[in-house]
Amino acid sequence: MPRWLIYSLLTILLWGAWGVQSKLMVDRTSAYTNQVVFTFGLALPAGLALVSKRRFQARNAARGLVYAAATGLLGGLGNVAFYMALESGQASVVAPLTALFPLVTVLLALVVLKERLNRGQLAGLALALTAIYLLST
């Protein structure tokens, strides 16, 4: 089996398991506590990133880090909203619904990065809105 496929399958297992783990946690504690404890767990992947030879590779470190920090801040807020959704919603519905986040990325890329939508993305937009409608009740 090629290495890229192993990594891809690992990714779906890790992210998929995170959805279930999150539901198990919100049944035991609050969304806020869960997010704080989640932060401790980031130490493991951060440690792995730290041993990489490219850990501090940069063309413009300051600018890159500002955007990375913004990603972390927004990601953390997204996590809290995700946990709050899981407090009363089913993991089997909340996980696929929140996984539609590329919808917002594509729309922002259109406005902020001046990217153009290809036909596949337009089809994805229509399917995403249909999926949101189907999952909304």
Binding site: W15, M25, P96, T130
Partner: protein
Amino acid sequence: MPGWFLFSIAALVFWGITGVTQKLSTNHISTEFSFLGFAAAFIPVAVLIGTAFRVDLNLGAGVFLLGALGGALNGLGALTSFAAFEAGGKSSIVIPIVSAYPLVTVLAAHFLLHEQITPRHWAGIILAPVAAWLLSRGESGEETHR
């Protein structure tokens, strides 16, 4: 409209914005450096949450470890997705595979947590990863990562 739906949309919006900020970040620094900056930013978020809201860390070792596992699973998933591309995986193949991750959650929630899924939700559950895959296919074949 149920509260869980509104919170889900809020998560979708926040994570969606990170797709742009992450891309902007990796235009300037390596994915590893970007991940370190991303992870470091979770610390002030945790401090802010601890200051503004009631946080109870007296959870017992088992529950604390279960919670910390969340950060490990999420962060390791990000690193393995980067590794898939670096190992030569084509975005046209890696993206549809990775986009299927909610199906793992759905199956586990259905069989382990015994969640009931309506036919209407099944339709949305199946459509969602297809939509996410199509949306993530940029003109240059770049992927939007979490």
